[in-house]
Symmetry: C2
Subunit: 156 residues, 2 copies
DNA sequence: CTAAAGTCCGTAGTCGCTCCGGAGTCAAGT
DNA sequence: ACTTGACTCCGGAGCGACTACGGACTTTAG
């Protein structure tokens, strides 16, 4: 099948397929005489594996490891299990961080009665950390890209 | 004060300060004779505002709007409030998406009894979506960068 | 006086795509 | 046969928010 069909079958964007090939996550697809890529069922399955992994929040690097593990079918899957658990813990950490964020933000919003800007609690809280609970100065992300998971209409 | 002191005082990484200046989020800092940047208390406050906003998950663009709003102290803060609420909703959406992710992953992990790779439930689930509950095929992120919020030790 | 630490600058790399433009190819309709 | 429109190719640039690097310079401590 052609790339657009493979895209439809795998749920992966066409350009993303080419991207995966470019970075070596997929091996180079076979070509027809006209230069068009051809995909086999197996390749579409691999693509689905990747897409699914992305949906579960694995990085492409992690997915590559998982694929490598998946190819050795004769060994116990303890390491797969370990990776999955590690990843789950990671996600839970992110959830907690976001929950802290949401809590602080909600508290800040509550404090703002809609008065004059000079006494706006939101802006005030932004200027100086809240520090109402813990002595911990920096309670939040700090070490990463902005989270965008689950944002319904992100992107142009 | 010098840039390293401003960094320490604001909790913002030194290189990040320069980055903010480069992209125009901070105006160009004054310089000493030797070319070193000098920062005033007000600039450090602005920097803290930005850092704090980032900690709460606002984008730099949102922060720029907030800063602009903060500078007009004589109007009601309804729009600040609106932005904050919108942002809170956004965060809550992300939390939900991650929770779905975690749930699915946990279910997948549970199904894996640690047997042979050929019957590894995790890898199996990656190959074909679970579909144990909803007819909804794509329940997850899809439209964004990888979330990394709250990852404690991210980076080399 | 020397060595270490700090600062400068511009550039490139990170992640995971997504979009662009220009060129070639193909299938359907007139 | 010809046109139209859809599809595919490719390399490269752009996003967001940094972070790292390298080479030149200055300051500071011993």
């Amino acid at each position: 099948m052609k790339i657009s069909e493979a895209a439809a079958a795998s749920g992966c964007h066409l350009e993303t397929i080419r991207y995966y090939e470019r970075i070596g996550l997929l091996s180079k697809a076979a070509r027809r005489d006209n230069g068009y890529r051809v995909y086999t069922h197996a390749e579409v399955e691999r693509l689905r594996f990747i897409t699914r992994g992305r949906e579960l929040g694995f990085s492409l690097e992690e997915i590559q490891s998982l694929l490598a593990l998946a190819e050795q079918t004769d060994m116990p899957c303890a390491d797969v299990d370990r990776m999955a658990r590690q990843h789950l813990a990671d996600i839970q950490g992110r959830i907690q961080a976001l929950q802290r964020m949401a809590q602080e933000l909600a508290r800040t919003i509550e404090g703002c009665a809609g008065g004059a800007r000079a006494r706006c609690a939101i802006l005030g809280d932004l200027q100086a950390p809240v520090d109402r609970t813990a002595p911990n100065t920096s309670s939040a992300p700090k070490g990463g890209r902005r989270a965008a998971a689950g944002r319904p209409g992100a992107g142009p």
